[in-house]
Amino acid sequence: MRITLKLFASLSVHLPAEVRSRLRVELDVEPGTTVAEVIQRQGIPEGQCAIVLVDGVWLAPAERAGRVLSEGEVLAIWPPVAGG
């Protein structure tokens, strides 16, 4: 199945170079794949995943290993950032 992975700010280095400026990549993953598995597969340091949203909904660190992704969902991740 296909999901969209969006990696923002300094995490974009974990995207393939040719799509890095778009901050997103479409990924084919096995049904049953969890958020934590995608994070691990892309080589993103877990400690750098400060904001993790699935279709815009916050996912706490403890929920990432149990959250199974569905076809078409958008997984968006940021390192520690803030503004004002």
Partner: protein, 616 residues
Amino acid sequence: MAWTKNVLRVNLAAGTCMQEPLNMDWARDYLGQRGLGTKYFLAEVDPKVDPFAPENKLIFVTGPLTGTMAATGGRYSVVTKGPLTGAIACSNSGGYFGAELKFAGWDMVIFEGTAPKPVYLLITDGKAELVDAAHLWGKTVWETEETIKKQHQDPQIRVASIGHAGEIGVLYAGIVNDLHRAAGRSGVGAVMGSKNLKAVAVRGTRTDAYQIANPDAFFTAVDAGKKALAANGVTGQGLPTYGTQVLMNVINELGALPTRNHRDVQFESAQAISGEAMHEKRPTDGKANLVTNGACFGCTIACGRISRMDPGHFTIKDKPQYQGASGGLEYEAAWALGAANGVSDLEALTYANFLCNEHGFDPISFGATVGAAMELYDLGILTKEEVGFELPFGSTEAVVKLAELTATGEGFGKVIGLGSKRLCAKYGRPELSMTVKGQEFPAYDGRGLQGMGLAYATSNRGACHLRGYMVSPEVLGIPIKMEPQATEGKPAMLKAFQDLTAVVDSSGLCLFTTFAWGLSDIQPQIQGACEGDWSEDRLLLVGERIWNLEREFNLAAGLTAKDDNLPPRLMKEPAKTGPQKGAVSKLDVMLPEYYQLRGWTPEGVPTAETRTRLGV
């Protein structure tokens, strides 16, 4: 003691500058900067005063940590009655001006009356004089700063000035120091202009201006604080690298990015105007918009953006003054100039932001007012004939043109300079003004983030994100994560944020430290610098006292609980897309609890018991 204990009182009508001792009883109750300035203001000014009358006063005020070695200790505030809102106005700025004022030996400058002709105040340590500013009137902020430095042959003079916008009374004109740091909101620059005061120029060389009460304790706390800022992912890496602008994509993904005058909550081109986009090399000249980051006095975060535009961009092709590096887009400015109007040209937004800095007006209120005008145009209420050109959502040319016209008060820029509330009232559609108490919203939708909606409605200076930044818990998980749509616990969290923020704003520190610091990090720094008891409990009481003092001013000025409200759009029109789809603000659920927690009556008035407890 970290206060200089000196107040400079400037009577603009009489042309006098008098030194007087700081009221230390008030300093102990209100700390400094926002709190202490507001205390002085309330003691001296009738809340019903016309903001542009000579009887209104304008106070520049530092905090006890301003000009010390505490990280970010360079802030000052400007307190007055705001012409945009009719409420208390308190606008905070960084840069180097505040610290310089302290080095010259002053905690505070109080301006009263109106000068018969344009003047600027020149402070050189203990000496202060009003100087003729006929040659500066009509000049931009950038020209004014350069001229004053050359005139006095001292490049180290720090200048806070108004541009043309402040002179002509743009209701959201700001005061700009160090070229692109601003006391930007609520129209404090328009009040300065009404007083014929063009600038405050200060040079401070005193090493004995103030004393640190307990140097060992202070430097131990300061050192620990700096280490905490460096080690924290947000203040150590995120903010210096991407600035506040990194929020553009976060808030858009979350479905809380107000777009096209809050018609929408997501902007399809958010990425094109984001912090990440500022790092990307342009196809036109191969260079990135962002040149480097920048820091204010004593700051170890350095969130500021320094940008250089594409010199071939249509907005600046023949204008060399905009082709150098200058203050770039922060999140709020990029949102207001961009998403609020549906505009996605990063270079054009940078240019409009340069104009805001150069001419001294608030990009948030300006951009949001343009958004309202675009909606009126879209509805056929405003016409091309009236505006002078077409004004559809998404028009880069229109935003740029209106920024130029607003800066100079020409054409339709005169109307835009009145702000969204007066614009929409003028055309018979007041409900389309996205404001609270007459001040335009910043970059978070009060439907998508329920706590921010409550924060806007209750902010003492009108819609503002900096009085209680509920984005921290609702989006960033700082200090704990709260669901954006939940209402439970939000009034209590907001009250805590508002009181703590009032403390930080009164100390001389920057609010951005609180992404890494809690009160337990800030308290030892204040305690080390200031004599007396500055326990955490006492500081929170000071914060609560300041909040209530501001409230008392607004009530006496004629504002009521009816002004603690949000526009009908946020209460009735559900968010159309994204994860917050279907949401409206649940302000009516949260506000009664908020009043109760504050110790206010159901009508939003502090009870006698609350007043006694706080000594307000």
